[in-house]
């Protein structure tokens, strides 16, 4: 019992005196939650719901994608494989089919999204990845 108390004491004292160094952060989502959140985001885009409406919805969802923000319509999307842990969130590769403007053909874009669900729902297009 005494040893157990001492084991708590060492990291506590280190934290108090500022010798903590680097510690590992917990994941801010789960695979299930993150995939459901990303699906909700893409469905909203496909359904013409605006970024602002998503952000003020319940629960609020912050979906960051410049193509979406510019109002380019999304006709369909397909997940490519399972997501993987990147940083504190999950990262998914998605193939987006975007509606071409005017007579132009639809365009397929391969992009990656980072998703966290705690403390807020946030989906962010990753820059330069994949």
């Amino acid at each position: 019992m005494n040893n157990l108390r001492r084991a708590w004491l060492v990291p506590t004292m280190m934290a108090l005196v500022g010798c903590g160094g680097q510690s590992t952060m917990d994941l801010a989502t789960t695979p299930e939650e993150s995939r459901a959140t990303l699906t909700r985001s893409l469905e909203a885009w496909k359904g013409g719901i605006s970024q602002k409406d998503l952000a003020t919805g319940s629960p609020a969802l912050f979906f960051q994608d410049d193509t979406y923000r510019r109002g380019t319509p999304l006709t369909s999307y397909a997940f490519e494989g399972e997501g993987k842990v990147v940083g504190s969130g999950m990262s998914y590769i998605v193939n987006l089919t975007l509606k071409g403007s005017g007579e132009k053909e639809n365009k397929v874009q391969r992009v990656a999204y980072r998703v966290v669900t705690r403390p807020s729902l946030a989906v962010t297009r990753e820059e330069g990845i994949p």
Partner: protein, 325 residues
């Protein structure tokens, strides 16, 4: 007769008033002492931080001595200046783990990506919780006073066509020699510092990089516009949270991990405007300023109140400006 009996049953000791007075005195003393201790502690941290920066500035010079040029700002595979600088920081073991033929995030580079290098960490930055598999960094190399992240595009259909090339010593594929720094190595910044982010786009923190994309009125064409945008930015709006992976992993040569710009004043919010325009700046937890290592290896503490022209002049290597501050 027993004196105790004479006094009734009272016991000698402190009265409640006396106790309260003593507690109040102790509280006042602690109140005076704690800020003083914190001040001393921060002064020590700032000194330790400048020592780290000095080590890195010396490492840059040692690298230049061995290779005839400064290390690359970032290479084509996204590996950082820091990765190339490891042997000069006596971190050979980590350097040997890096596969420089692989991208920074390739599984083959997972081991060095998680390696903590103490010299890369400012003790004043108390945010030390990092995602698993990554290691943190507070020091960044100077890309200059322009907005362009990559190299100038040649196609005039590119939204960044016409943006000036990076004018700092460190950028994509840079091979800068000290003799290329025409403003003088003592007048040009090599490195500075930045606090780590919170690694969670669902949390708004002032040390994150704010993703402003091509939002109307928020896509700067010039450095002055970037300064105006950063000044008025609502850093608590989660819609602007796009890059919270700030300050890790150090192996990644990126505008939010190992590179900064002299576009906006130190201490302002760091911003990104995809595609291709960036204005991450220097910031710190030191009071009112940041440490900067100049290209000659000297150190300066630059106040947040530095004039913008002077800060930008420090950032460019070939601008021909004179730094008056």
């Amino acid at each position: 007769m027993d004196t105790r009996k004479a006094r009734g049953n009272t016991r000698s000791g402190f009265t409640l008033i006396e106790l309260l007075v003593v507690i109040a005195i102790i509280a006042v003393l602690v109140g005076l002492l704690v800020p003083a201790v914190q001040k001393v502690r921060e002064a020590a941290n700032r000194m330790s931080c400048s020592n780290n920066l000095k080590q890195m500035a010396l490492a840059l010079h040692n690298y230049h001595g061995s290779n005839g040029e400064l290390p690359v700002g970032r290479d084509a595979l996204g590996l950082s200046t820091h990765a190339y600088l490891l042997p000069q920081l006596e971190q050979d073991a980590i350097f040997k783990q890096i596969n420089f033929t692989l991208a920074w995030n390739a599984p083959g580079n997972a081991l060095p990506m998680a390696a903590v290098v103490k010299t890369f960490l400012c003790p004043s930055d108390n945010f030390n919780s990092i995602p698993a598999g990554w290691a943190g960094n507070n020091y960044r190399v100077n890309q200059g006073s322009g907005l362009l992240w990559g190299l100038p595009p040649t196609a005039n259909s590119d939204p960044n066509f016409g943006q000036p090339a990076p004018n700092g010593p460190f950028y994509l594929g840079s091979r800068t020699r000290l003799t290329d720094i025409l403003d003088g190595s003592s007048n040009t910044a090599a490195m500075s510092e930045h606090r780590k982010g919170d690694f969670n786009n669902g949390i708004a923190s002032p040390s994150d990089t704010f993703w402003l994309g091509q939002t109307v009125g928020m896509y700067p064409a010039t450095a002055d516009e970037a300064q105006r945008i950063a000044t008025t930015l609502d850093t608590k709006n989660l819609l602007y949270q796009g890059m919270s992976d700030v300050g890790a992993p150090w192996i990644r040569g990126y505008h939010s991990t190992t590179v900064y710009f002299h576009v906006t004043s130190p201490g302002m919010p760091s911003c990104m405007y995809p595609p291709g325009r960036i204005a991450t700046t220097a910031d710190s937890n030191h009071s009112n300023g940041v440490n900067v290592a100049m290209c000659d290896g000297s150190l300066r503490f630059v106040p947040q109140s530095i004039s913008l022209p002077a800060w930008r002049a420090m950032g460019s290597a070939t601008g021909g400006e004179v730094i008056s501050e």
